[in-house]
């Protein structure tokens, strides 16, 4: 067994405005005035596809970006405002052929029925390249944009009270995803029969009410949209602790985690695997990807100088949930290979400056990983599930009948 070559790594890029560093928009490579155009997003995603990446995620929320985790801010020195991520993904889908498109959706204030048909449709449009990244929001200002519920104020994550609020929102998100998934299965693949002899367009025995009744909502179904080409587009989520790890274990195909060293990576993977077992999904593939913010240049000194320059422009050193990598593509490849040994099967890289670091990923990092035989040389599968090594799943409703 020791002669088996190490598996290919999976690589995704997380797109957010001009990049993940708050001063990214001030860099020469940034295009801050193009952020609200289709051309900007098309250019980024086709660049990612040129690098044979598995997929891109597109950040989103239901209120302006904020430096404050639980409320709006009134900063004028950072990018504020964005376009709906599902619509960006669908706008770019006809202009790409291979790369997975994974928009962010907020479970807290949206209808699972609408989300399910939107992602199913993105899957139809893209020929099986859709996924979704589900998140919650505990921001009070976002709740006030909807006026349907009040989210109790959180001042610090550490309190038991905050944990209670967060747990409830993640429980709701798990139900949301459950409904989204059941609706995807609510049409069997061969439900459309077009039987001229009997005049029936569909075989209605192959459409199913999903009959979901939960603590937070009930949804009857079936969907208005036929089953997506992938059957179940991959569901992904970012997770920073036990509560969201449980969401991964129960509902996700990919989890993004943010370990800051190898020991932490091992511990997180172990915890997620234990939760996965507890959720009865031990036999299913659940990828755990490491999230990294990256600044890539020809030398480490250059990358560090760029980080210093960005920090100076931002007025403070950048700190976020994910570790920050500063260096060359070769050094990053070393880090990824080492992290992979801890049980991470892929990485979601957050370019500090989209216009600079994304091309560095596709043109420097990818060839480096290819030289090491850790990354694909060409796209093989036509679907995102295929790229991720996930089989097309049986339909839960036809399986129940069989």
């Amino acid at each position: 067994m020791s002669s088996t070559p190490p598996a290919h790594l999976h690589l995704a890029v997380a797109l957010d405005g001009t990049g993940w560093h708050p001063a990214s928009w001030r860099e020469p490579a940034a295009r801050p005035r193009d952020l609200f155009t289709a051309g900007y997003w098309t250019d980024l995603i086709t660049e990612a596809e040129r690098g044979l990446l598995d997929f891109v995620t597109i950040e989103d929320g239901l209120g302006p970006q904020s430096d404050h985790p639980w409320a709006a801010d009134e900063r004028t020195d950072r990018v504020r405002g964005r376009l709906d991520a599902v619509l960006i993904a669908s706008r770019v889908a006809p202009l790409t052929r291979h790369i997975g498109l994974v928009p962010t959706v907020v479970a807290t204030h949206t209808e699972p029925f609408h989300i399910s048909k939107a992602i199913a449709t993105l899957d139809h449009i893209s020929g099986g390249r859709a996924g979704l990244r589900v998140r919650i929001t505990a921001r009070q200002d976002e709740a006030a944009h909807f006026g349907r519920r009040t989210i109790r104020r959180i001042d610090s994550l550490g309190t038991p009270y905050a944990q209670e609020v967060i747990t409830e929102l993640f429980d709701e998100a798990a139900d949301h995803v459950e409904v989204v998934r059941r609706l995807w299965d609510s049409w069997e693949d061969d439900a459309e029969i077009r039987d001229a002899a009997t005049g029936r367009f569909i075989d209605r025995d192959k459409l199913h009410h999903i009959g979901f009744e939960g603590r937070f909502f009930s949804v009857k179904g079936p969907s208005i949209t036929p089953r997506p080409p992938q059957g179940q587009p991959p569901v992904t989520a970012l997770a920073h602790g036990t509560v969201p790890y449980r969401l991964l274990a129960r509902q996700a195909d990919i989890g993004y985690v943010t370990p800051h060293d190898t020991a932490q990576a091992r511990a997180i993977v172990a915890e997620i695997r234990a939760e996965q077992q507890a959720a009865g999904r031990a036999g299913q593939t659940l990828h755990v990807f490491g999230d990294l913010l990256v600044l890539l240049d020809d030398s480490r000194a250059e990358a560090e100088a760029r980080r210093d320059r960005l920090d100076a422009l931002a007025g403070e050193p950048y700190t976020g949930d994910a570790p920050v990598f500063t260096g060359t593509a070769r050094q990053l490849a070393d880090v990824l290979e080492e992290s992979a040994e801890q049980g991470l099967s892929g990485f979601r890289l957050r370019p500090a400056v989209a216009g600079h670091d994304l091309p560095r990923i596709t043109r420097d990092l990818v060839p480096e990983l290819q030289r090491r035989r850790r990354f694909r040389d060409a796209y093989g599968s036509g679907t995102l599930r295929g790229l991720l090594g996930l089989a097309r799943p049986a339909n839960r409703y036809s399986a129940a009948v069989a």
Partner: protein, 464 residues
């Protein structure tokens, strides 16, 4: 004859989930695959149409307690399809039907504003209402809205969405690298709305889009619907297909505009229209009869009769006489998720009238349904259809039409190839797009920042 010729507006309705759409025809393709939408949209754009139109329903129709299976069933998500179509077209307007009952203004406003950005100013919103608890079973709130409140929610929903669109003036993004000022205004997008249906505040997160606001359509035909259109819409999607009915509707709706301080040219009236073309008028008429028979199979005829009888009629022979039993009059209806069943307010009288019609004409059940149902609006040679369409518009029965072909996705092609050139020859339809936005195509003003709705027609384009 000094009156100048009106320019005709034309739109293409993607074939819907009802029996107008003939799925059994060998030429009929998928209603789900994106390639069908691309074909349809590109045909419409090649013909210089104003826009493409997508309908929506949020629950599959049922009849007799099971999903209705005789028509096309299922459709993709409206916003997602329109955003993708923006990638394969340049000028065509993109109109989506979005329900104001089972959505929230913040989310819908950011979807339309996003679509408008991603399409370079080509978005339009057909605002529809829904009140049935049946559809509500697919949503968090269930059937929460009493019937009499559906238009009041729709109006407030639209007003709230406008407040969100207008919360950005359009000049807030400075993106000045040197000074580090991205936004000119720390409160860009700030809004407060306190009303009966929505009590929301905060900051809208999509900057002002190319059109400022999507073009607004209204599709209801009731008194309330007409008033809603007169006060709030840029265009009305109506269903009056005869010249006389069309003129009456046109006059009625246009006369309501003054009440809201608007001019007649600020609301376009665009009825749905079907068509059948042939080399000659006679050939078209024969084809039209054939299409009607395709649209109304024996099984479909029985199901349509059940809309009125409100009872299971599956034991009846569609080629035989009408049932002699009377309709069941009940709040519970055999058909669910369909708007038209509400039209039969006195089913017993309709049944009596239909029996008389059938007897007088020696019609079977199927003949009756074929003959009382919607006939094609325009039937004839390309020259006849071009003339009739122009006559309708010049006689103020409409400002143009939303064409509903019966074949997906190629049903529009013959119209584009044969009728549009004749309308262009007459000088009543554009030979090329003059502007880039849907507002340009429709001759509507671009809203400036927070225009007074009563004077929204005064072009404030320079400000937007």
């Amino acid at each position: 004859m000094s009156k100048p010729l009106k320019q005709i507006h034309l739109a293409a309705h993607f074939p819907g989930v009802n029996n107008t759409t003939v799925w059994s025809d060998p030429a009929a393709g998928s209603h789900i695959e994106f390639s069908s939408f691309v074909h349809f949209a590109r045909t419409a754009e090649r013909a210089k149409f104003d826009f493409l139109f997508l309908a929506e329903g949020l629950r599959l129709r049922e009849q007799g307690g099971t999903v209705y299976d005789l028509d096309v069933v299922g459709r993709p998500d409206t916003f997602t399809v329109l955003a993708a179509l923006a990638a394969v077209t340049d000028r065509l307007g993109l109109t989506g039907t979005i329900n104001s009952t089972f959505n929230e203004p913040y989310e819908v406003a950011r979807q339309f504003a996003s679509l408008d950005h991603l399409s370079g100013g080509r978005s339009a919103w057909n605002v529809v209402t829904s009140w049935d608890a049946f559809t509500g079973e697919n949503f968090r709130r269930g059937g929460f809205l009493p019937q009499e409140e559906r238009y009041s929610r729709a109006r407030e929903f639209l007003a709230t969405a406008h407040e969100l669109f207008d919360s950005w003036r359009g000049d807030e993004i400075l993106a000045d690298r040197a000074t580090g000022t991205f936004l000119r205004d720390a409160r860009a997008g700030a809004f407060v709305h306190r009303g009966q249906h929505f009590d929301i505040h905060g900051r809208f997160d999509v900057p002002r889009s190319p059109q400022g606001r999507p073009v607004i359509f209204q599709a209801g035909d009731s008194e309330e619907g007409r008033d809603f259109a007169a006060s709030d819409a840029d265009a009305i999607f109506s269903r009056h297909s005869t010249l006389k009915e069309g003129q009456a509707f046109y006059t009625d709706v246009k006369s309501r505009l003054a009440t809201y301080g608007r001019r007649p040219d600020q609301l376009l009236i665009l009825p749905a229209a079907t068509f059948v073309l042939g080399d000659t008028d006679q050939e078209a008429a024969e084809l039209a009869r054939e299409v009607r028979r395709q649209q109304v199979s024996g099984a479909t005829a029985i199901k349509h009769l059940e809309f009125v009888w409100n009872r299971d009629l599956s034991a009846y022979d569609p080629e035989g006489p009408l049932p002699d039993v009377d309709p069941v009059v009940s709040e519970e209806h055999i058909s669910r998720g369909r708007a038209q069943v509400r039209m039969y307010r006195d089913p017993v009288a309709v049944a009596r009238e239909w029996r008389q019609l059938a007897e007088a004409n020696k019609w079977s059940i199927r003949d009756l349904v074929i003959n009382t149902g919607n006939r094609q609006t325009f039937v004839g040679s390309p020259a006849t259809v071009a003339r009739d369409i122009n006559d309708f518009v010049q006689a103020d029965a409409a400002d143009g039409f939303i064409l509903v072909p019966h074949i997906t996705p190629g049903g529009l092609d013959p119209f584009a190839d044969q009728v549009v050139p004749l309308l262009q020859e007459r000088g009543v339809f554009r030979t090329d797009y003059e502007g880039t936005t849907l507002r340009d195509h429709l001759g509507l003003a671009h809203p400036g920042h927070r225009p007074d709705r009563r004077t929204a027609g005064s072009a404030e384009r320079a400000a937007s």
